[in-house]
Symmetry: D2
Subunit: 176 residues, 4 copies
């Protein structure tokens, strides 16, 4: 089972990354740091006559990477009780992929994937991170992906995640 | 009470806009279409020595507009069970404003605002839109803004919102 | 389409009842006031050798009534952010019905029903009532019932619901 | 710090109990099995002239026990995506305690408590148990109790919880 991790953090070596490495060590699996790629916001052209315009950015390359793995880990700091902007931009554009003739099997391919979520927040994330979990669950449902589990960590300042020993332990046991 | 509406849709005259005009007619209040502005994703530099770099885009102008009104309406299509990317980018950057010496009263100013949410989705939004409502509630809590109400509409194809008569009625009664 | 309403309130002519009558007038449909019936808490004997003991109370009569209608409306005051105790007792016992040889088609029969929820609370119910909505949604999913809609009203003191004009209007438009 | 556990399960030695003993061993703390007590459903008489009638059952004794401890653990199987009926009955009656002259400090006393939740369900509890978590969070907010954490386990058949090693580990680390 090949693992790919999408890191949504905009800060290098942040708390979310640290927690994620407990689940998927750096040297294991494919680690994609979305901050290193250019992904433009979707423009909803689903109902335009000509459909979506081609977009010149890194999105399709990331999609191809995703599709070539079996397990997808979404790792995001909690920004305003939701996933980070870069991760939102990445996922929003899936609507465009769904209409792309080059990806007619997108939905079917995704239905074979196992998905995990790792999220870290500073403001009572064990409760206020739950809508984020529910959203990922709905995304998985839409594509019939198997949502296998999640870990929520609590941290705000750099390094603080090391104090959340329960989250670290849970992350180390996350991927089955 | 001055009203400002932030439209998160990337499609002109879409369902979300239509529903929103039932609450705040086009000629009433200030309507901001986020798709017409350039707002870059936040780069989390909260913990950098020098703090945040200045960003050359429209964000501060939008913040100034927001602060000069009493009622804020967030109007967003539901993209993957959450707010649209452009709206997420707009709100993510509030973290930067919070550290900006030019906006020391940002939190205090926001605490005087009344907030409404209008969201439209195609996939059982009455249930799957609820995490989005909960997130906006947490955002309001953080800033001590008063979350006055929300309307969720159901629509996917252009014009379909006109069939959701309950949502249209609710929107027309939303702002107190 | 025959309508049955299960009223979970323990107070006669309370706010929840008032709101519910906007959706289903007293003289229309079958109104069951759970407070007038004796329903004992479930004792989980799913894994007992002999299965469940027979229980002498009104539960089966209520189930029979429910099954003979097409539309089920659950009307409950929000007690501690969830449905009322009497309604919880009523639904908990469905686990026993599921194992009852006299109700082998229980799940299949329920899958034909349309379900609505009407809930009234005093403590910011528009937000704090949402977990209750989500729970009813999961119940409907389990039985493959169609969860058609819900209305949340705000009221605490007797009669206060009359001020929530938006909820009254929404209730009057609820049943399609 | 004195610990009390309220067990909501109606089955002796069930999965929820097993998981709970990882957090609070049987010989440690006070274990209350609600199934062994008689607690009647609340009748909402908050707005009756004479207030609530006295109720002859075990409720006040349980409240007294609760108040004499510092840490409260609510342990419940997930019945229809919510707490068990016996636990709901127990908590519903707090509304009566709030109006009882013998408990004028009820709210203030509870505000000193630390609360944990342990829940076990069979139907994707990691997601479908979240509304239950949110409800407990709201209950804690109401009383200004500190909601310290929760563990959700997955199990349906007797003994199955032993396979959820992540939940067992999390429970063992739950109480700080």
């Amino acid at each position: 089972m090949k693992i790919i991790v999408f890191h949504g953090s905009t800060r290098v070596n942040g708390n979310t990354e640290f927690l994620t490495y407990q689940a998927v060590p750096k040297e294991k699996g494919t680690h994609i740091y979305l901050r290193d790629y250019n992904v433009l916001p979707i423009i909803d052209q689903r109902h335009d006559e000509g459909g979506f315009n081609e977009v010149e950015d890194h999105h399709k390359g990331l999609i191809d990477q995703m599709l070539s793995h079996d397990i997808i880990v979404f790792s995001t700091p909690i920004y305003w009780y939701s996933m980070s902007g870069p991760m939102k931009l990445f996922i929003d554009r899936w609507s465009q992929i769904l209409r792309d003739p080059a990806y007619v099997d997108f939905r079917k391919e995704l239905s074979k994937k196992h998905v995990y979520l790792i999220a870290v927040g500073g403001d009572t994330p064990m409760v206020k991170g739950l809508p984020l979990v529910q959203q990922f669950n709905y995304i998985c449902q839409f594509y019939n992906m198997s949502f296998e589990g999640y870990v929520i960590g609590k941290a705000s300042k750099p390094g603080e995640i090391t104090k959340d020993t329960a989250a670290l332990k849970a992350a180390s046991m996350l991927i089955k």
